[in-house]
């Protein structure tokens, strides 16, 4: 199955605006995270959150599956489907 990953903000220079990944049927968010971390040279995806201004506890990379926060779904265990769009939003503070 194919999943589109759209990076945002400081992740764009590292991952590009959008990339399409071929994943095995039934793959979960955890698999996607591992693949992306490999692309970041083994640096965990979550580390991208650490260089921003004060955000406090709970601040993390925001992952949206088809516009819905995975925290409100099954988190890393959320199953992906063909055609899904995953947004990766590092902590962001514009405005």
């Amino acid at each position: 199955m194919r999943v589109t990953v759209r990076a945002f903000g400081s992740l764009i220079p590292l991952l590009g605006d959008a990339l399409t990944l071929d994943l095995e049927e039934g793959s979960k968010i955890s698999v996607l995270k591992r693949l992306l971390s490999e692309r970041l040279g083994g640096r965990a995806l979550e580390e991208r959150g650490e260089s921003h201004g004060l955000m406090g506890e709970g601040e993390a990379l925001l992952i949206l599956l088809n516009g819905r926060n995975i925290e409100t779904l099954e988190r890393d265990e959320t199953e992906l489907r063909d055609g899904d769009v995953v947004f990766l939003l590092p902590p962001f503070a514009g405005g």
Binding site: F8, G53, N66, R68, E71, L89, A93, G94, G95
Partner: protein, 610 residues
């Protein structure tokens, strides 16, 4: 005093009289500068009940103790007055050479009273301050007037101007500088216009004196280097605040069709990524190495400087998905001296009112030509523009009926560009902002959404709003340094403590700066209460009713809306944590704890303190 110049320039436009005043050290230490100076001076000197557009109103331009030094993002000043839009405390800040030159001229603030007999501009050059005739500038847009003034007084002159909107006393007229830097959303430009004051031109030949000049210089250099090394620096330089368009779109918080929706079908066409392909140059404020103004060529072939707020408000909020056309509307607002946020919000209100048949106006969503005409009509108060120039609150009051339902404001100030149907913390931030619905003080939305608990009304949200208000609305507004290095790149707050100590020789701490923020917030709230007297109540701290009563109809979180009962509880939590009573008025003990005992006694003349 080191760091501070220790001098205020007072100018009475009615008499042409100039006074230079050495102010007490107590003012510097308790209120630091910028917004702190402004509210203290307004509290002490403005007679309650003053008509904001009368000669008696006081207009203040205040720099801070770091302004004018070579320190990151420090070239800014605050403009403040009693607001003609809201009737309460109003301010804004803008980056301008005028801020740096004011300090070089030997002042920390300029206090303007009275009304000039004819259109004039105020020329400040070191010890000289005189009123010059501006008959030939009156009526010119802010870009043309600025060019003329710089032709006469030099390219390096600091200028602060109004356009026709300020001259015509439009409720959301701003003060503009350097073709696109604007500040003072709650009608600070109209206050200038009411005083017949077209511009200030500021030049100075001196330098502010630091307590530790060598140490401060080195710290500044280290600070600039540190900013350049930050992870996010490269991307920031590419998009600045414009990255927010896409971020808001995917999170359903992009103001769309007058804040009815949080997603816009044309979002990609107005995004930061689209802008990147159009940028022809970048502009920034003085002393800044993370400049955020991206200049594009608009649909009329002119340059226009974009950032998120103006693009969202003049784009998605009015249903316009064409960035070059949005850029044209933005440039027109800057020329005319109209607040882009207020204008976009008011256009959305007008389009919805026309759609509902409440306003006799031939305009539809996304109607570019109609928007151009209406923007001009707003600035010149022609036709229906006269009514709308009052701002959406007053316009909806006059229209009557149900128009209030789609007037999107807090305390009379039009909401800036975040839809809050499902971010109660951000709604609380808008609702308790000290000038009305502005995002500047407590931009909690990113934190709130990324926690994965955006729908909750937990007490931590009140804590976070207060924390941000202390830092962004407190420390940064008093130092008058930009919040972006800290919030966008993680440039640590401890840098600013070091800057302050090297500049002034005064030891301080983040805790003391938080306390300063609380003091300034309490005094601003006291100012509002003194103006409103018995009419003040917690309903003033409510976000627009639309977010409660009209659920989102589009996007992944459609059906979402705020909950009144839960919001009210969150508001009470906020009051309790601030030490304010159930009306949102600081308690007597709170004022005393913050060193505002004298102010508490004054406030007791207008209301009962608990």
């Amino acid at each position: 005093m080191k760091g501070w110049n220790g001098r205020l320039l007072r100018f009475d436009l009615s008499t042409g009289r100039k006074t230079v005043e050495e102010y007490p050290r107590d003012l510097a230490e308790r209120f630091v500068g910028g917004r702190g100076f402004a509210v203290k001076l307004l509290w002490d000197e403005l007679r309650p009940g003053t008509d904001p557009l009368s000669p008696e109103n006081i207009l203040i331009f205040a720099a801070g103790p770091l302004t004018g030094f070579a320190l990151p993002s420090s070239g800014k000043l605050v403009v403040a007055s009693k607001s003609p839009l809201t009737g309460g405390y109003g301010d804004g800040n803008l980056g301008s050479t005028a801020a740096v030159n004011l300090r070089k001229a030997g002042y920390d603030a300029v206090i303007i009273t009275g009304r000039a007999a004819r259109p004039s501009y105020l020329l400040i050059e070191d010890d000289r301050a005189e009123l010059r005739d501006a008959s030939d500038l009156w009526g010119l847009d802010s870009f043309k007037a600025e060019k003329r003034l710089k032709d006469v007084h030099g390219r390096g002159s600091g200028t602060l101007l109004i356009g026709p909107a300020g001259e015509n006393l439009v409720g959301f007229a701003t003060v503009v500088s350097q073709e696109g830097r604007a500040g003072g959303r709650p009608g600070m430009g109209a206050v200038m216009g009411s005083k017949n004051l077209k511009a200030l031109v500021i030049n100075g030949s001196g330098e502010p004196q630091a307590h530790d000049p060598k140490g401060l210089r080195e710290l500044g250099q280290e600070g600039y280097q540190s900013i350049l090394k930050r992870d996010n620096y490269g991307f920031w330089r590419r998009q600045g605040t414009m990255a927010t368009v896409e971020w808001c779109q995917v999170n359903s918080t992009l103001p769309t069709y007058n804040f009815k929706e949080g997603v816009f079908e044309g979002a990609d066409a107005i995004s930061g990524t689209t802008m990147e392909k159009m940028v022809v140059k970048q502009r920034g404020c003085p002393n800044c190495n993370m400049i955020c103004g991206n200049v594009v060529i608009d649909s009329e072939g002119r340059e226009s400087e974009l950032d998120y707020e103006n693009v969202a408000m003049l784009g998605s909020n009015i249903g316009l998905g064409d960035l070059r056309k949005v850029a044209t509307l933005n440039r027109m607002c800057d020329e005319l001296g109209l607040d882009t946020i207020g204008a976009g919000n008011t256009l959305g209100f007008a389009m919805e009112s026309a759609e509902r048949g409440v306003l006799d106006l031939d305009i539809t969503w996304g109607d570019f030509e109609g928007a151009k005409v209406l923007i001009e009509d707003l600035a010149y108060r022609r036709g229906v523009g006269d009514l709308l120039s009052l701002g959406v609150k007053k316009a909806s009051d006059r229209l009557g009926g149900e128009a209030k339902r789609w007037a999107i404001h807090v305390k009379g100030l039009e909401c800036s560009a975040y839809d809050c149907h499902l971010v109660p913390g951000m709604a609380l931030s808008f609702a308790t902002s000290p000038i009305g619905a502005h995002h500047k003080d407590a931009w909690v939305i990113s934190w709130e959404i990324s926690t994965g608990r955006r729908a909750e009304y937990n007490p931590e949200k009140a804590d976070k709003v207060i924390e941000f208000q202390r830092i962004r609305g407190g420390m940064f507004e008093e130092f008058v340094t930009c919040r972006f290095p800290w919030i966008e790149l993680g440039f640590e707050m401890e840098w600013y403590i070091k800057f302050f100590e090297a500049a002034t020789g005064v030891k301080t701490s983040l805790e003391e700066m938080y306390n300063l923020g609380d003091r300034v917030y309490a005094l601003i709230r006291a100012f509002w209460v003194r103006e409103f007297g018995g009419q003040w109540g917690r309903e003033q701290d409510y976000p627009p009713s639309r977010w409660f009563d009209e659920p989102l109809k589009e996007g992944p979180i459609k059906g979402s809306h705020l909950d009144r009962e839960k919001y009210d509880k969150l508001l009470q939590t906020y009051y309790d944590k601030r030490g304010w009573d159930e009306r949102g008025i600081p308690r007597k003990a709170t004022l005393q704890r913050l060193g505002l005992g004298e102010e508490a006694r004054e406030l007791e003349r207008y209301t009962t303190l608990k």
